[in-house]
Amino acid sequence: MRELTYNEAAVEAVAEEMRRDPKIFYMSTDPIGPLLKEFGSERVRATPITEAAFTGIAIGAAGCGFRPIADWRQVTFCFVAMDQIVNQAAKIHYMFGGQVTFPILFRASVGGGGQVAAQHSQSPYSMFMNVAGLKMFLASTPHDIKGLLKTAIRDNNPVISFESSRLLTRKGPVPEDDYSIPLGKADVKREGSDVTVVALAWLVHEALAAAEQLAQEGISVEIVDPRTLVPLDRQTIRRSVQKTGRLVIADEAGPTAGFSAEVAAVATEDPATFARLKAPVKRVCALQVPIPYSPVLENHVFPDRKRIVEGIREVLRERRAADAA
């Protein structure tokens, strides 16, 4: 199969959808070259640096029958548009009794590792997960981002595509035929029986490396990639944990009230899953600090395959008090 980068796969998804549906148009402060070349400046609009305005413009155009894509580029830039995202986009369909739909794709890169310090190294998706009315996903492979973007563009709701900055240039197989991936469906990236690792984006790849290493010691790791954050595929997570009895959650964001906390709750508040847990849930997350610049500091803050291995060993060592007695 041919290989594309994560970024190429994303652009291909957008281009295919724009060819299919003339109601789709694209707004960002810097237009993407290939899209601008193919579709022209009417459909691929360069906006002033006004994320608040063009996020709201996307909402209004969507309510009038268009299917806008608003590309914030880095997630950090969308914070000036939080009124439009939280007060308007998330609530407008509900608040008006569902009288019209607001199909909007928002795009934003997340994550760190680029030595660009605190403002440009953020993974704030749990802030958005906390707002009712927004769907969102975070893909880990070129294959997944293309399929998820195609679904998101066809969805009749505001959907945020968080895109891992560490993965933008990473290559992977992408089929040439038309396919899409439903929102709300996790992907088991590796099957195993001793421990479940729920990981997102770049940490899926780190978890795969950790699993490979531990396999040599006879430890069998299952890796679940939720892909979609809202709606979250609770069933696949619970099914895996029920099978392995152990859960490690790997996330590039900090742990506090984060995606990892949500996954821990998904596992532990379900009686059937809780009953099969053999050890406490372990979270392998970034430290709860703004991301620092110097590589020495930055590397210390982020989780990686080494910490995932340590986390797996910890849950294999630990036992529930009731079982130990």
Binding site: V80, F96, N157
Partner: protein, 338 residues
């Protein structure tokens, strides 16, 4: 240096030459009176505990919504503010469904999910009242972009207050609309107060319209209590927008008679003399006088109009009261569209 009282070449609309068919003039009066009676009823029912949350009355500002919307076609789109009943009525919203929404009923415009601050009717181009000051300006600018892309000559109108004119989205959107030549009217209802805080203490210049110069678009100041003057300004701006000339900023100087909301015991720091002086400039009384002077309405005609409006409102209240509340389970409907 520019004189702050006459800055940067804004136009002041003074003349009162309606040049409108008598039927249309009477219809404008009917709409303004309907807004006023609707809100008097909403306020009374709110104080009686039949309407919940919060109600913001538009009384005293009726000429703005009616003057502007009377210059629009049905396919044109508007967005409103937290003080939105007037814009809904002027754009042709159904009073039964409005009242039912205030009453929190299933038959309301938003099935009881929105209330006074969130009435919308996309079918008539009313893109919603909005509880966030300046929150609607960008959304309706998106409707302006949609109108431009549709290419059918539609326009979009942003209603907002003097308070919103100091918020970022106002400036961001005027710049984009001017740059992209969007068919937009930005209509500032300058009622001189953002909740309790006076515009005089928060605006660098007394005329919001002066800011149009910074974006290279027409800026117009108009007596917001004179419905014909507002209509004339809106008509010119609509022509300009439909012909591809881009957006205009119209500032309507007006006044809110009542406190910021209808909540009991709410502070109102404005001077009684100021409020009384503006009541003497009642936009409805002014229009009645003009129509009488022109011989287009008489006492009998006014009484009939008044009676019809009251009957319509009684019917709207009866419809609301007879309508069921939503079932509790409906709280989880419509979070996402299918």
């Amino acid at each position: 240096m520019a004189n702050p009282e006459q800055p940067l070449g804004i136009t002041r609309i003074m003349s009162l030459s309606p040049n409108l068919p008598p039927d249309k003039q009477r219809e404008m009066l009917r709409q303004m009176l309907t807004i006023r009676r609707f809100e008097e009823r909403a306020s009374a029912d709110y104080l009686a505990g039949k309407i919940y949350g919060v109600v913001h009355c538009y009384i005293g500002e009726e000429a703005v919504a009616v003057g502007v919307c009377s210059a629009l076609d049905r396919g044109d789109r508007i967005i409103s503010t937290h003080r939105g009943h007037g814009h809904c009525i002027a754009k042709g919203a159904d009073l039964n469904r409005m009242m039912a929404e205030l009453y929190g009923r299933q038959t309301g415009y938003c099935k009881g999910k929105g209330g006074s601050m969130h009435i919308a009717d996309f079918g008539i181009g009313m893109l919603g009242a909005n509880g966030i000051v300046a929150g609607g300006i960008a959304i309706v600018t998106g409707a302006g972009l949609a109108a431009q892309m549709e290419g059918k000559g539609g326009v979009a109108v942003s209603f907002f207050g003097d308070g919103a004119s100091n918020a970022g989205p106002f400036h961001e959107c005027l710049n984009i609309a001017a740059t992209w030549k969007l068919p937009m009217l930005y209509v500032c209802e300058n009622n001189m107060y953002a909740a309790q805080t006076s515009a005089a203490s928060t605006h660098a210049l007394s005329d919001v319209a002066a800011r149009a110069a910074g974006y290279g678009i027409p800026g117009v100041v108009v007596d917001g209590n004179d419905v014909f003057a507002v209509h004339q300004a809106a008509n010119a701006a609509v022509d300009h927008a439909r012909s591809g000339g881009g957006p205009s900023l119209i500032e309507c100087k007006t006044y809110r008679w009542r406190a910021h909301t209808e909540r009991k015991g709410q502070p109102d720091l404005r001077e009684v003399g100021e409020i009384e002086a503006w009541k003497r400039k009642d936009p409805i009384a002014l229009l009645e006088r003009q129509l009488r002077d022109q011989g287009e309405i008489d006492d009998a005609g006014l009484q009939t109009m008044e009676r019809e409006i009251v009957a319509t409102l009684e019917a709207a209240v009866a419809f609301a009261e007879a309508s069921p509340f939503p079932s509790p389970e409906q709280a989880t409907d419509d979070v996402f569209a299918v």
